[in-house]
């Protein structure tokens, strides 16, 4: 970890998280380069969301060091929080408010300049213009995901944390979201940290993958490397092998 590439935007060094006797994450070390997408893969309870929460600074690690954009996340969270954002189907926007009202509120919270123009552009890009005056609670799962993505991009984040962004979406909507996010990343150079159970999604979007089991890194590498190393046809087969070995 001492000789990190110049473009490293996320650096995690020997990080652990325990709740009393229970260890959620144990001695994890990794780094992410600018404009890369890192996938966090693992069974339920493997520690993926715990890592994302620590990276965003809303969960204190028990030990170790986390640097985001070359700053300690816990010391400089106020500064860093303006440069990151987050989308997850498990965290929702106020249902009673319209899409426009929600985006306006979060635009102000993130201190977005020319907010009206920004909302106009995002709604155009994400195909939610006709939804702007509708209440979030009345949207379909696919529409809600697009609105949640719009909220997560309102501040042009340098790092975007995605916790199972396409969970509960049909294949068509899920593909649309993935394509949009890929295009966004290519255009802006943003870095994505993606926690997902969807193997084709991870295989398609991620430059690197961390396979986790019981709070530890079981293996890591690019999706292609992992598939070759385990002599499997796809990442799902690699995941199943590692998950079952870990269980044994």
């Amino acid at each position: 970890m001492t000789n990190l590439p110049v473009d490293t935007v996320v650096s995690v060094e020997n990080v652990s998280k325990s709740y009393g006797d229970i260890t959620a994450v144990e001695d994890i070390t990794f780094s992410v380069e600018k404009s890369h997408t890192l996938g966090l893969l693992g069974s339920n309870g493997a520690g993926k969301t715990t890592i994302i929460m620590m990276l965003m600074g809303i969960l204190k690690s028990s030990s170790g060091k986390i640097n985001i954009l070359n700053k300690d996340i816990y010391k400089y969270r106020n500064q860093i929080s303006k440069e990151i954002n987050f989308a997850s189907p498990f965290v929702e926007l106020p249902h009673k408010l319209t899409v426009l009202q929600n985006l306006t509120v979060f635009g102000h919270i993130y201190g977005v300049k020319n907010l009206s123009l920004k909302i106009e552009k995002l709604s155009q890009d994400l195909g939610i213009r006709e939804l702007l005056k509708r209440r979030v609670g009345r949207l379909s799962a696919g529409q809600k995901t697009r609105v949640s993505i719009a909220k997560s991009l309102i501040n042009d984040p340098k790092i975007l944390f995605l916790d199972e962004p396409t969970a509960s979406l049909d294949p068509d909507h899920a593909d649309w979201i993935r394509t949009y996010l890929e295009q966004y990343k290519n255009k802006t150079g943003a870095t994505f940290i993606l926690a997902s159970h969807n193997m084709p999604e991870v295989e398609r979007m991620c430059n690197n993958v961390i396979m986790m089991g019981r709070g530890k890194v079981i293996d890591h590498g690019s999706p292609k490397d992992l598939i070759n190393r385990y002599n499997r046809e796809n990442l799902e087969q690699v995941f199943l092998q590692l998950a079952r070995n870990d269980r044994v």
Binding site: Y19, M56, P94, V105, H108
Partner: protein, 265 residues
């Protein structure tokens, strides 16, 4: 606009939007204080026809109920504004954002002020038009009593928010019930001298006790006792400090335990 003001403004805007799209919420704000006030105003009319004491101070019960509602709505305003985030599972989005805990606290207080102005303000206006009861006519000191009740309500509200962060929505009952526990102790409708002697020192620890005592003195004897106001202010400073500290501590605890993303569940 300075960024921290803009963030607080955003959170207040969020509550204003909520009222704009949900008129039953606004109606509910006005409904209970209005109903309470009308009920006690009629009771007051009845008592003043049958009691010399109430004939002397006919407005005392109306004042008591409006003041109690100020305290209760002040607390509820803070707590409900926070519960809205849990109900809508939005706390995670807020926690990740640049909004600081202290800014969240300030926004909850301003949201509470707005809710109280709508709710209690409606009742006070109705008291004026229906029963010719004018709060401003009792002087600036009387208004300061109201401010004290608001501050005490905010203190309780913030403490309850701390519980909500720690225990999630299972602590929601406190939002509705907590303040009623102290209602018998702070002498809303009767002097604290009525309480058993061993209980009276407890009531002296509550700022509202001094406010209600001061209010009764204004009505019955026509005097405004500044020392009662100062005592209420002093204890309230302590209360608001404890309320803010509890919420900040709870927020920091939630950061250690990972409660900020999944507290609504």
């Amino acid at each position: 606009m300075i960024l921290f003001i803009r963030r607080i403004y955003a959170m207040i805007l969020r509550h204003i939007y909520l009222f704009m799209v949900s008129w039953p919420r606004v109606l509910e704000l006005i409904y209970w204080p209005f109903l309470n006030m009308v009920l006690w105003a009629f009771m007051s009319e009845f008592l003043s026809q049958n009691s010399n004491l109430f004939l002397l101070a006919s407005g005392v019960l109306i004042a008591s109920v409006i003041m109690w509602d100020t305290l209760f709505r002040g607390q509820l305003g803070v707590t409900l504004s926070f519960i809205e985030e849990l109900w809508s599972r939005n706390l995670g989005n807020i926690a990740v954002s640049p909004l600081k805990p202290m800014e969240l606290i300030l926004s909850l207080i301003v949201a509470s002020l707005l809710r109280t102005i709508i709710g209690v303000g409606g009742a006070a206006l109705a008291a004026y038009f229906l029963f010719d009861f004018q709060i401003p006519s009792y002087g600036i000191g009387f208004i300061l009593f109201f401010v004290n009740l608001l501050v005490m309500g905010w203190s309780f509200g913030l403490a309850i928010c701390a519980l909500l962060i720690r225990f999630g929505l299972s602590a929601e009952t406190f939002a509705w019930a907590a303040l009623f526990f102290i209602q018998p102790l702070c002498g809303v409708f009767y002097p604290v001298s009525i309480l058993p002697e061993w209980l009276q020192p407890v009531s002296m620890l509550i700022p509202a006790t001094y406010v209600f005592e001061g209010m009764r003195l204004t009505f019955f004897e026509g005097i405004f006792q500044i020392d009662l106001l100062l005592k209420a202010c002093f204890i309230n400073l302590l209360y608001i400090f404890i309320g803010i500290s509890l919420l900040l501590y709870s927020y920091s605890y939630a950061k250690k335990k990972g409660l900020l993303l999944g507290n609504a569940e």
